[in-house]
């Protein structure tokens, strides 16, 4: 029996050693390693989860050395996937904060050990907000099944469900948004019978019927006032339609859209002529960081869908007085679509009020299938526009949101496969320089290869939400929606 145990132990040891082959007779090659996701030469926050990756080649063993000064994190893996132990990773990040980590990859490919050109990770002390919410949805978009709103801890791989379609009578859910990146100020909309807008304010949940006789629909795109008392929303009549050629697939346009403000303290909805002009489509409203302006996009109504390629939205703003609940009389145009000949969508002002980030495309309002959809950033003090060349790709880059520090933003990009959106993080340093973005790391680096869901509207927050999917199930079932007038 003892002998048997000894043999078994030996077998296990041999197997274990077999799992971690070591490089020998290494050949240097002058190409960067073919890693996925692309984590080469990027700037990362010191609180990010391990950047696990895989090699897109025939590698059957990999050795990775991540090093700053005397601190070395070396791992050997069988197969082509590299997963860093989280504790050692955290230690390296802590040690290398504000410094540059050099990463060397040696892979066993077709019987030979190859050493690729090293790459670097600039570890910045500017932390990213540690939580992010998003909607997971199949890229059909006008239909749904198995939709979930999720919350991910960016510092590790923990993911929780904040709403599940199964638990809310298979109803579709709009994306979850935060106010001031605050986990105690957020909302999302559950469609269908018994649905409504779920408002989470100071940890208390409310179900709201965010429309009245004047609004053309319930709130679709929205944003919070910094005070948390108001929300600004668009109400839209949305039409989906299909392209004949492959690249754009689905187009969605509005036949009508207006902007309104909702007062959550007094259950009141109000607007003004400039935000609800029947000859103009107004949409994508958002408050400025100080709450004194509402930024929105606007386009003249034209014959649709025939003239869809002429549907171009300008970036505008109107002043807002929160104390009186009134609007200004003058609309400023910040980006004029007539001059730029491009359409502006999804403006979002940075929390420090310095920048406004938005998406531009050749035309239209629904840009997830527009390959030319790119992010742009305007300095609100100087009006200078940064085309964010280092950030954008040849696929759709859109649906962005800011970190509370204004040093980071996250956006959804289809750059990998053109079909499934993934959250990418981008760093802006003190000088306003933007750095190469990188995708949200996953525990299994092949996760993105195997998922059939898109990450929709990723939004950053400073902490975890005070509710979960079961709370929402109970809340939707047992609560009547509060009416607005």
């Amino acid at each position: 029996m003892k002998r048997l145990i000894r043999y078994a132990t030996l077998e296990v040891l041999i197997l274990l050693i077999g799992c971690t082959p070591r490089p020998a007779n290494i050949k240097d090659i002058a190409t960067p390693p073919p890693i996925y996701p692309d984590y080469t030469d990027i700037t990362i926050p010191c609180n990010i989860a391990p950047l696990n990756f895989l090699l897109r080649n025939e590698a059957d063993a990999v050795e990775v050395t991540a090093q700053y000064g005397g601190k070395i994190l070396k791992i050997n893996c069988k197969g082509n996937e590299v997963c860093f132990p989280i504790r050692e990773w955290k230690a390296l990040m802590q040690f290398a904060t504000g410094k540059e980590v050099s990463v060397r990859v040696i892979a066993h490919v077709n019987g030979r050990w190859l050493q690729y050109l090293p790459f670097r990770w600039q570890v910045t002390a500017d932390k990213i907000d540690p939580f992010m919410s998003y909607r997971l949805i199949e890229p059909g978009y006008e239909v749904w099944n198995a939709i979930q709103l999720k919350q991910r801890d960016i510092e590790n791989f923990d993911e929780t469900t904040i709403a599940d379609y199964h638990l809310v009578n298979n109803a579709c859910m709009n994306c979850h948004i935060y106010g001031n990146q605050n986990p105690n100020l957020s909302l999302f909309y559950v469609r269908g019978k018994g649905g409504g807008t779920v408002l989470n304010r100071n940890g208390k949940l409310r179900k709201l019927e965010l429309k009245n006789k004047q609004t053309i629909s319930t709130g679709v795109y929205g944003s919070f006032h910094p005070s948390g008392r108001f929300g600004v929303f668009s109400s839209n009549i949305i039409i989906p339609i299909f392209h004949a050629v492959d690249s754009k697939r689905l187009e969605v346009y509005d036949t009508k859209s207006d902007v309104f403000v909702a007062d959550f303290d007094h259950n009141r909805i109000f607007s003004c002529a400039q935000l609800s002009d029947s000859t103009v489509l107004e949409t994508f409203p958002t408050f400025s960081a100080d709450g004194k302006y509402i930024y929105f996009c606007s386009a003249r109504i034209i014959k649709l869908p025939e003239k869809i390629k002429k549907l171009k939205y300008s970036l505008c703003r109107i002043s807002f007085n929160a104390a009186k609940g009134t609007f200004g009389t003058k609309v400023d145009t910040l980006v004029n679509a007539r001059l730029t000949r491009r359409s502006v969508c999804h403006p979002k002002v940075s929390p420090d009020g310095k920048w406004i980030l938005y998406t531009v495309a050749d035309y239209g309002t629904f840009l997830i299938w527009h390959r030319e959809a790119d992010l742009q950033m305007m300095n609100l003090q100087t009006g200078a526009i940064n085309p964010l060349k280092i950030v954008n790709s040849n696929r759709s880059d859109t649906y962005h949101s800011w970190s509370s520090t204004s040093r980071w933003f996250v956006f959804a990009s289809k750059r990998d496969d053109g079909v499934y959106g993934k959250p990418y993080f981008c760093y802006i340093d003190k000088q306003g320089n933007v750095h190469k973005p990188f995708v949200l790391p996953q525990k299994h680096p092949s996760f993105y290869d195997h998922t059939l869901k898109s990450f929709n509207i990723p939004e950053l927050s400073t902490g975890p939400l005070p509710f979960n999917a079961i709370d929402i199930e109970q809340w939707m079932k047992h609560t009547q929606a509060e009416k607005f007038h």
Binding site: D246, G418, H444
Partner: protein, 531 residues
């Protein structure tokens, strides 16, 4: 001697049951197995295997889904199901033997096996559910030999909790058998286990994100229902077309005698693949355009979503083929459908969207049975034959962009023909669409535009019959008559038809025998229902 005889009877009944089960599922219900196999995407990757822990019954589901893959092979579905049911029956018999019901245990086992077999008539009922039951019985048989009271207590609690984790609702089988045996042993206080059995799912449902009903029945308790031979017939047509047997599709469609849009849809697809749609259109039941296209949308039946992409793919209308395949994938029971993933890979390869195609090919590369298929399609590794097939399909693609709703079929077809007048399938579908809607004016316009102007002349009798209706209705000039070069025989028939029609005051009975398969008869007597 009596015992021996009874044994022979037992084996005899079991053998008959086994043969009957196998024959039924193999020869009368086998296409359901292909559907079940295609309605999942089992990946041999750690993260996918890991995903089974997100729900209860992970062992039953993992084993069930893994084995369901092998339904891919002919005869495997019926063999696997029969074997699984026999194992279930054997465990049932052994469990009831423990109660001292030896006389009835065999009969009870047959009843359980039969009821479970009936549940498998439902196309959404999975093998995992049967494995969940097997797990429940197996736990009970593992529990039985435990002798010491303390160990029995511990085992009862652990098996109840872990049983739910491993086998979902199957753990209730263990619980009920345990209660039964405790009643027999007069060990009443162990029946408190029932409380644990019901609390466990309800306690864990927040983690598993299940409603309380789902938490008590996961992975699916099944229901007793009649075999659905209509669905089987549709699945047979769908799969035979998928396997590349259009002749068999035509034969099966005719044999089925079913007046359903889905059956006509496959009949027409098989005919158009062989270039015989126009000649055979009126020899089969035609529910207007519903026999040419399946409506696409979230409210349509799953089976229609599932089959809807086939025509778009053949037409070269890849935006809608992709849309339809994504819908079918989304609404499949596990929200993953290997056949739709194959279709999405094909669509993107034809569209020359390599990165999107690679997404799907990588998924298929991680399956056991579709790896080869995927490998042979990876760009730079494609065989000459596959390259040629892709190039052929590319010729059919739209060249100009238009916007349309998914069910605007004439616009879709005209747009394809405008891009490629050689698109034979699109041309026949457009002309037949016009004819089935009795829209002679559109037919004439489309015929002129896509047949005469582009010199893709169609001489099929049905088209000529339709043109005669137009020419006669418009009192066309001699020049116009000559333009369409309609043979004398058809003209004569038309005059004869008109004469009989007028003589009998529009009574169709007088025309049916001789002219029942002509377009003139369809035009006069077929009724169109919108919807």
């Amino acid at each position: 001697m009596k015992d021996r005889l009874s044994k022979y009877y037992t084996y005899g009944i079991l053998a008959c049951w086994t043969i009957a089960c196998f024959i039924f599922f193999q020869f009368f219900y086998s296409y359901h197995f292909f559907f079940k196999e295609q309605s999942q995407l089992f990946l041999l990757t750690p993260d996918y295997i890991n995903s089974y822990f997100d729900k209860p019954a992970w062992l039953a589901c993992l084993a069930g889904d893994f084995i369901t893959q092998f339904y891919y092979y002919e005869f495997a579905g019926a063999a696997i199901l029969t074997l699984s049911l026999l194992i279930l029956g054997d465990l049932t018999r052994r469990s009831f033997d423990a109660f001292g019901f030896s006389k009835f245990s065999f009969g009870l086992a047959i009843v359980v096996m039969t009821l479970e077999a009936i549940c498998h008539f439902n196309s959404n009922f999975s093998l995992s559910s049967t494995f969940a039951l097997i797990g429940g019985f197996a736990l009970f048989l593992l529990y039985l030999p435990i002798k010491r009271n303390l160990f029995r207590w511990i085992a009862a609690i652990l098996f109840t909790i872990f049983g739910y984790w491993l086998f979902g609702y199957g753990s209730f089988v263990f619980t009920f058998l345990l209660i039964g045996i405790n009643i027999k042993r007069k060990d009443w206080y162990k029946d408190s286990i029932l409380l644990i059995a019901f609390i466990t799912p309800l306690f864990l449902r927040g983690n598993y994100l299940l409603t309380w009903q789902e938490s008590l029945t996961y992975p699916g308790i099944g229901s007793l229902q009649k075999p659905n031979f209509v669905t089987e017939a549709i699945l047979s047509l769908d799969n035979e077309l998928y396997f590349g047997h259009p002749q068999k599709v035509i034969r099966l469609a005719r044999k089925s005698n079913l007046h359903l849009p889905e059956v006509s849809y496959f009949y027409n697809l098989a005919q158009v693949e062989q270039g015989t749609l126009a000649d055979s259109l009126l020899t089969f039941y035609q529910p207007a355009f519903l026999g040419l296209f399946m409506k696409t949308g979230p409210d349509e039946p799953l089976i229609d979503l599932y089959i809807g992409n086939e025509i778009y793919y053949r037409l070269g209308e890849l935006t809608l083929a992709e849309h339809s395949a994504i819908l079918a994938d989304i609404f499949s029971p596990t929200h993953r459908n290997v056949r739709m993933i194959k279709r999405l890979a094909e669509v993107n390869l034809i569209n020359n969207d390599t990165t999107a195609a690679m997404k799907y090919l990588r998924l298929l590369n991680n399956t056991l049975l579709y790896r080869k298929w995927a490998e042979s399609r990876i760009p730079n590794k494609q065989t000459v034959d596959i390259k040629l097939r892709i190039q052929e399909r590319r010729k059919l693609l739209n060249r100009t962009d238009t916007l349309r709703t998914p069910n605007d079929f004439p616009t879709i077809l005209r747009s394809l023909l405008q891009s490629n007048p050689d698109n034979r399938i699109a041309l026949d579908y457009l002309l037949c669409y016009d004819l089935l809607w009795k829209n002679i004016s559109n037919f004439k316009k489309d015929y002129d535009r896509f047949c005469i102007q582009t010199k893709h002349k169609r001489t099929n009798r049905i088209y000529r019959e339709a043109i005669l209706i137009y020419l006669a209705g418009k009192n066309a000039s001699l020049e116009e008559w000559e333009r369409y070069t309609i043979p004398q025989g058809i003209r004569k028939d038309f005059m004869n038809y008109t004469e009989i029609y007028e003589k009998n005051n529009g009574n169709g009975m007088a025309l049916k025998d001789r002219y029942g398969k002509t377009y003139w008869f369809y035009f006069h007597f077929a009724t169109l229902k919108r919807g």
